[in-house]
Amino acid sequence: MSTMNMIQALNSAMDVMMERDPTVLVFGEDAGYFGGVFRATDGLQRKYGVSRCFDAPIAEGGIVATAIGMGANGLRPVVEIQFVDYIYPAYDQLVSEAARLRYRSNGEFSAPITVRSPYGGGIMGGQTHSQSPEAIFTHVPGLKTVIPSTPYDAKGMLISAIEDDDPVIFLEPKRIYNGPFDGHHDRPLQPWAMHPASEVPAGHYTVPLGSADIRRSGKAVTVLAYGTMVYVALAAVAESGIDAEVIDLRSLVPLDLETIEASVKKTGRCVIVHEAPQTSGFAGELIALIQQHCFYHLEAPIERVTGWDTPYPHAFEWDYFVSPARVAAALRRAVEAV
């Protein structure tokens, strides 16, 4: 066991997989010699050589396309898109190619690639360093979309993603790279070292994709969150004094419906929290599923607390970013309804 922040855990996952499996390659913009703008690939080129970890031209579509070709030819590329806000030039390759290659070739070819990308707001990143576009991937058959929220999960889930034979969009909440941020931007950030989930095994282990994690047990209301919003939700629960059950979804596709269903049937109430804009966000899908599977157990309308339906602003960072206060208000509405 070592104490790691999320960056170190991600770095360790790639290190472990490169050590174990010679078909694992890592590349992306500034990912080689420099070790990545967030240091996630630091030291990998030094340790494994330039053929295993290298810099790429600034061309997201080209990065994903070459990864698909390598993947189809027996390698397991792990590519980095510097910010998920810049993944759109690769969208065609992800949606039209990586996601469909196995299906359209009836299994003759597949793209066992992992696309890592920092995502989410809360860092004064403005419009193009703050986005949360998970819903544009969850809508695509053939893609898996996962989002860890602790160093332990980040490493275990990244190893699972690399070992997975399907293409995985691996979104990293960059706001919590260094510590579990709960939305209180006016307070000092607690480093990961003070959190138990920063205890990370040095070697190989996995956290299966498609399994949610109950981060706080409760009876009054179910809160569904992922990424940074897990900590915002936990803070809101603590501050509201409501006995909520907080579920970290971790994986959106595949989704752990069983855990969600069991919790909502127990509490009868549900609040969903995400950073992404509201309209057609992943909360919409969750609400539909819960309505379908838990209708007769529901005692209140399902609430969603999300980003606004605007581009991500700069000066209005803390008016846009979902706050514990907004989540607490939704929790109260949910438990006080009828």
């Binding site: 031209p57 390598m70 030819n73």
Partner: protein
């Protein structure tokens, strides 16, 4: 007719955008007199390890081996045996016969869609003969000659076209978007250009795995305008990938002539120069030139010298697809006037001139291949044509992922339960 907008520098802007126009439209007489073709033998054949910077003229010239009389000449003559050339002729005739049959099958309502490669047979067939099955093609939808040359079962192609119960792709894919891994033929996608840079990644993996297999990627003149084209040339050059980057310039992208893709400004081959890649411009209707250029590029790639860009200059003799009527946008019968002729007729003429072939043999071969295609068609149609037969509906939910998740299981049950 169709005068280009005046863009001479001393003109004040007129408000007229300089939109390129083709040299002929419906009602015009076919006219290719504006094209100039360098004579056979005018293109030198550099050593494969020559610097790309020293061979730039090849991107602007035209590599030709067969002249108008069917004689082969010049440094690029691959000097193939009569037997090899007869095999090539057979592959091209079989490809055309297959195309004609399947086009007719579409008109008979047996399938929803088809695309011919008439006039472009030399390109796929020659490359398939030069490269081995361990070399992976990343084809477009218009190089079916690759599969046919490599003896992929015609009946399997037809089963795919009919989406019937024996369709190797289980009815999931539009007709002609084949996949045949064991034949070195990558899964075709409807999204044009996307596979061009995937081929570069495939080739990089070959290098990484320390073998001498290569990749061969195809793109059309129209699709060179996609960003995938730029990505592929750049990544191939940056990482010295063992890949052949082919551009089939058949003059037309559906109704748009190649000038709309940027073909009036410079040659498509010349785009390779800016990336530091060697670039060849080749008569695509000259089987021997296609063969020789492919062989040269393959040798370069296998020696670790990197990628080559090849523009095959040809003409799309038929409509874009069964959904297209070319008489709506180009002169009728333009294909018959293409100055570089027909690839089958030219190789046939060459073989006859060499005393390696005769009209009688050719007619006999055509009859034999017609019968072969008809037999395959009957076999496929016995399984069923579109709508008459199809794979079990549960196949719709397979291979989305390695294993279906709960959603796909439930949805499958819902469909199968009806």
């Amino acid at each position: 007719m169709n005068q280009p907008a005046d863009t001479s520098p001393d003109q004040v802007p007129t408000g007229a955008i300089a939109v390129p126009q083709p040299h002929g439209r419906p009602g015009d007489e076919p006219d290719f007199s504006h094209l100039e073709f360098p004579p056979v033998g005018s293109a030198r054949r550099p050593a494969v390890d020559e610097s790309p910077a020293q061979m730039r003229e090849l991107a602007y010239g035209l590599i030709r081996v067969l002249d108008a009389d069917g004689a082969a000449g010049g440094e690029w003559n691959p000097s193939l045996s009569g037997e090899t050339m007869r095999r090539a002729l057979r592959a091209m005739v079989l490809t055309r016969t297959f195309d004609d049959r399947m086009f007719r099958a579409h008109r008979q309502g047996k399938t929803s869609f088809y695309m011919k490669c008439t006039g472009e047979e030399a390109i796929g067939c020659a490359q398939a003969m030069v490269l081995g099955k361990d070399d992976m093609f990343f084809p477009t939808y218009r190089v079916q000659g690759i599969l046919i040359t490599r003896d992929y079962p015609l009946v399997q192609m037809m089963n795919q076209i009919y989406s019937n119960a024996s369709d190797p792709l289980q009815g999931r894919q539009l007709p002609i978007l084949y996949s045949a891994r064991d034949y070195g033929f990558f899964s075709l996608s409807g999204n044009v250009g996307t596979q061009y840079c995937q081929a570069v990644g495939w080739a990089m993996a070959n290098t990484y795995k320390n073998n001498t297999n290569i990749a061969s990627a195809f793109i059309g003149d129209g699709s060179t305008a996609t960003y995938d084209f730029h990505h592929a040339l750049n990544f191939a050059a940056v990482y010295r990938a063992p890949v052949i980057l082919n551009i089939t310039n058949n003059q037309w992208a559906i109704s748009s002539f190649q000038g709309i893709a940027g073909g009036e400004q410079t040659t498509f081959a010349a785009r390779g120069i800016g990336f530091g890649l060697p670039a060849l411009r080749v008569d695509g209707n000259d089987f021997l030139a296609v063969y020789a250029a492919t062989d040269w590029a393959a040798q370069r790639a296998r020696k670790g010298l990197g990628a080559t860009v090849i523009e095959f200059y040809t003409y799309r003799a038929e409509g874009h697809s069964t959904s297209d009527d070319p008489s709506k946008y180009r002169p009728k019968d333009e294909a018959a006037h293409w100055p570089m002729g027909d690839p089958i007729k030219r190789l046939k003429q060459h073989l006859i001139a060499l005393g390696e072939w005769s009209e009688e043999q050719h007619a006999a071969m055509e009859a034999e291949l017609f019968a072969q295609v008809r037999t395959a068609a009957r076999e496929a149609e016995a399984v069923g044509t579109l709508g008459q037969s199809r794979p079990p509906v549960g196949k719709m939910f397979e291979q989305v992922f390695t294993a279906p998740d709960w959603r796909l299981e439930r949805q499958r049950q819902e469909v199968e339960g009806q």
